[in-house]
């Protein structure tokens, strides 16, 4: 438990990604099974003890310390687990041998009933110092707040055992904590884990932005890039699962789609919602968001926002792994496969017929469908490879929308940028001549431009609100964004998708920046 609490504390205060990777990787190498596996599960968010409730932890602390004193402390600290860890009455001497191991803690937390959980935790905490108590409560109640994503934790595992992170991703979703097979494989004590008959996620093949390159269409096939959720359908014949880009199981949110699939295959596609106003065509991303992130969806929601998958690719057919084959071969197999599926729920993303690259550009610019984000270009001879490999797949998004906005607030960045004001909130003018915030961006500028903007913020500060500075409304920023939607988050009623600073318009007077009304006309 001590090694884990040290790791947590160091991660909390470490900002650089590489340093975090190093810390986790060293920990995984030097910690024995099963502790390291449980910690890896905690960091990737795969650990859950349903019988341990934060409220029970709070009540238990209130029993030991006066309730008012606890409440005042909790208000000040801002985190229940940390408050309990700090406030817990400490015995003067705790010997290291009394502190339980992570494995012991996990075993007991797994077995404990809801009514016995507080007693168990109290007993653990009586044998720990404040830092271990904090680690214990974070482990037990979840939510590490150490700034480590599941992806980063897996990258650290890959670094520790010199395995490609793609190979870890490939097997990860089929394994369960404490991952002893994974460590055995990493340390060369066992073969790669056998996953026959398990419905698990395979890492996606991703695309690079095309930027200014021109492409020869004899080498590349083109299709629409749909603005939905990239999804992987994994069917074993026995069960079917849907996975999101990050490998999260989203089957529960889209039971209508999963139920309609009973083949043995792995498919790559775009999850979309049928829009009633578009004659059965795909509706915009906004409609899909109604269903995103829900653990369970009502029958009403399924009826109002019926989901379907527009298929791009086939990775497995039966037991046959097609990923080593060319895109052309896979496409042929996909075209043969799709007609067997429920047409309500599955269709195929059509290949665009263009005479040449310029013609394709015209087709792209002419697209009026809100669900089209741009065009994908896929090398005809490309294998299906996890991650982004240069030259194989490109995304060629529609030209972004732009608006001239006025900087209103600035906030310090993090990590290397912590001494710079690098996050900007900007606004546009209302009819009454007021500035309303329309978005926030922290990218798109060069290092030199950042220094310039930082200087502007420091020299033109009107007000300070904690880490935020309000600035003179004189700096015009040209903001590029992929689309704009209605939203209650900003006073303007607008929210941009992927806003970034495209140009700094020091030349432009602030009162010539765009109006909120103009932006409203861009809503798709």
């Amino acid at each position: 438990m001590q090694a884990f609490s040290d790791l947590l504390d160091r991660l909390i205060y470490t900002r650089s990604r590489n340093a975090k990777l190093g810390l986790i990787s060293d920990f995984l190498k030097s910690t024995p099974d099963p502790d390291r596996g449980w910690i890896l599960a905690a960091l990737t968010g795969e650990l859950d003890f349903p019988n341990v409730k934060v409220s029970a932890v709070r009540n238990m602390a209130m029993e030991r310390v006066d309730e008012t004193l606890f409440r005042l402390s909790r208000d000040f600290v801002g985190d229940t687990a940390e408050t309990v860890a700090l406030i817990w009455p400490e015995r003067s001497e705790i010997s290291a041998s009394e502190i339980p191991s992570v494995g012991e803690v996990v075993d007991e937390l797994t077995a404990v009933s809801r009514s016995d959980a507080p007693k168990l935790l109290a007993n653990f905490m009586d044998h720990m110092g404040a830092n271990e108590r904090y680690a214990l409560l974070k482990l037990a109640t979840g939510g590490m707040r150490v700034g480590v994503s599941a992806r980063l934790a897996k990258a650290a595992l890959a670094q520790a055992f010199e395995i490609a992170v793609e190979d870890i991703e490939e097997v990860w979703h089929a394994l369960a904590p404490p991952y002893s097979e994974l460590f055995a494989w990493g340390e060369g004590r066992a073969d790669r884990p056998d996953l026959t008959g398990v419905a698990f996620f395979r890492p996606f093949m991703l695309a690079h932005p095309l930027e200014d390159k021109a492409i020869d269409l004899t080498d590349y096939a083109a299709e629409w890039k749909w603005d939905g959720i990239r999804v992987q359908i994994v069917g074993t014949g026995e069960e079917t699962k849907l996975f999101s880009r990050g490998g999260d199981d989203i089957t529960m949110a889209f039971p209508d789609v999963a139920k309609a699939f009973d083949s043995e295959a792995v498919l790559d596609g775009e999850l979309l919602v049928r829009g009633e106003y578009q004659g059965g065509e795909a509706a915009s991303f906004n409609a899909l968001q109604q269903r995103l992130g829900r653990k369970k969806v009502s029958a009403k929601m399924q009826a109002e926002y019926p989901a379907f998958v527009r298929l791009y690719d086939i990775l497995f057919h039966g037991a046959a792994d097609l990923r080593e084959q060319s895109w052309t071969n896979r496409r042929e197999k996909l075209e043969k496969f799709v007609p067997q599926l429920d047409a309500e729920r599955f269709d195929i993303s059509t290949v665009l017929e263009a005479r040449d690259f310029n013609h394709l550009g015209e087709i792209r610019d002419g697209a009026r469908n809100a669900a089209i984000e741009g065009v994908m270009l896929k090398r005809r001879d490309s294998r299906y490879i996890s991650g982004r490999k240069i030259g194989l797949w490109y995304k060629w998004k529609r030209d972004p929308l732009v608006a001239d906005c006025v900087m209103m607030y600035a906030q310090r960045g993090s990590g290397k940028r912590s001494s710079f004001y690098s996050d900007y909130t900007f606004g546009c003018w209302t009819e009454d001549g007021e500035l309303y915030p329309v978005g926030k961006a922290y990218s798109g500028f060069t290092d030199e431009e950042l220094k310039m903007l930082d200087r502007f913020v420091r020299q033109n500060t009107l007000n300070r609100f904690g880490p935020v500075r309000e600035v003179e409304k004189t700096m015009v920023l040209e903001v590029a964004f992929d689309s704009i939607h209605q939203s209650k988050r900003h006073k303007s009623g607008l929210a941009m998708r992927f806003p970034r600073i495209s140009r700094i318009r020091s030349d432009k007077p602030a009162d010539e920046a765009d109006r909120v009304e103009t932006l409203k006309k861009m809503i798709t």
């Binding site: 205060y13 900002r15 940390e82 700090l86 904090y134 310090r412 001494s419």
Partner: protein, 334 residues
């Protein structure tokens, strides 16, 4: 709580504590004719008073900060009378020159602590327990979550970070008066003999401490030092400079901060601190409550900090207490 019914001879006001029969104010936050100042921090010692009573060290600090010279020096243990009030100053252990003020009037003894701590500090005299009827205490860290660890442990962390990062510098944020000199002093006690580099804002105060006889060893100015010379070295700066442009001149600094607030993780994170050092010049919860027990006054008045919690603790322990509502006491970077 049944408090004294009639007006007491000591009156709490939003801008200070008024000692009526002496016609003097303790730590007033605006200019007055007669001020009794506990210590040199800006939220207790302000410029512009007509007459000031303070320890010689506090007067020297006020002279440096405000250029004032209107003080009557009161060494620890010496007494004087104002009106019919007998007044004496006793060490508070907070920073160099910090004093508790003992006042006796018509047989009643009142102690105002200003800020204080109970731990040892190589740069100032230790806290003195003075029996009294009314104890007027601070409560900066007056919540049971604050239990400051041993200073040696925290200094150990700092030295360990330095050894582990020979290619970087260790930049420690520390309040200019008291904390900075204490960190240096504690490092010297731990046997650290290397030069310690200072931000410009700390230089004058450190020099004053040295003039007043506090040994700080080899201290140097960042401005006068080569960037490369500071690699692997410890640098001190006021907390406001930690993430400021100033820090760009240092070789890849590890950002540390010495403050009692560092025990709260998200607070340390908010300040972009990589190495939090829990070093405080205030009493922690156990010390605040133990001091009230040690003195066992008939009433405790709480001036500033988490007064609600400390007053509540007193009531739980059947002790009379009340919170004074003072203004202008900032949450300094302790």
């Amino acid at each position: 709580m049944g408090m004294t019914k009639e007006a007491h001879w000591i009156e709490p006001h939003p801008h200070g504590i008024y000692v009526k029969p002496a016609d003097a104010w303790i730590d007033p936050s605006r200019p007055v004719s007669r001020a009794l100042v506990t210590h040199g921090h800006a939220d207790h010692a302000r410029g512009g008073h007509e007459k000031v009573w303070a320890t010689p060290e506090t007067l020297a600090i006020m002279g440096l900060r405000y250029g004032t010279n209107v003080g009557q020096a009161v060494p620890y243990g010496d007494g004087f009378e104002l009106g019919d009030v007998k007044i004496s100053y006793h060490s508070a252990g907070h920073v160099l020159g910090s004093a508790q003020i003992l006042m006796e009037y018509q047989g009643e003894r009142v102690v105002a602590t200003g800020d204080y701590k109970r731990r040892s500090d190589p740069t100032c005299a230790p806290f003195e327990v003075i029996s009294c009827d009314i104890f007027i205490t601070e409560a900066t860290f007056g919540l049971p979550v604050f239990k400051h660890p041993d200073t040696t442990v925290e200094i150990g962390k700092l030295l360990c970070a330095r050894e582990g990062n020979p290619d970087r510098s260790i930049l420690v944020g520390a309040y200019a008066l008291g904390k900075a000199q204490r960190v240096i002093g504690e490092l010297r006690i731990a046997g650290y003999r290397e030069p310690i580099y200072l931000h410009g804002a700390l230089k004058k105060m450190c020099r004053l401490y040295q003039d007043l006889g506090v040994d700080l060893g080899d201290i140097r100015s960042v401005m006068d030092s080569e960037k490369e010379a500071m690699r692997g070295q410890i640098i001190l700066a006021p907390p406001s400079a930690l993430n400021d442009r100033w820090s760009r001149r240092l070789p890849d600094p590890v950002t540390a901060m010495a403050s009692g607030w560092m025990s709260v993780r998200q607070r340390a994170r908010q300040r972009n601190v990589e190495l939090p050092l829990i070093i405080s010049d205030h009493a922690d919860w156990d010390e605040l409550t133990q001091t009230i027990r040690d003195i066992s006054p008939s009433e405790t008045w709480v001036t500033h900090g988490r007064e609600e919690a400390l007053v509540h603790w007193c009531s739980l322990n059947q002790m009379k207490a009340k919170a004074l509502e003072l203004v202008g006491r900032e949450e300094e970077d302790d």
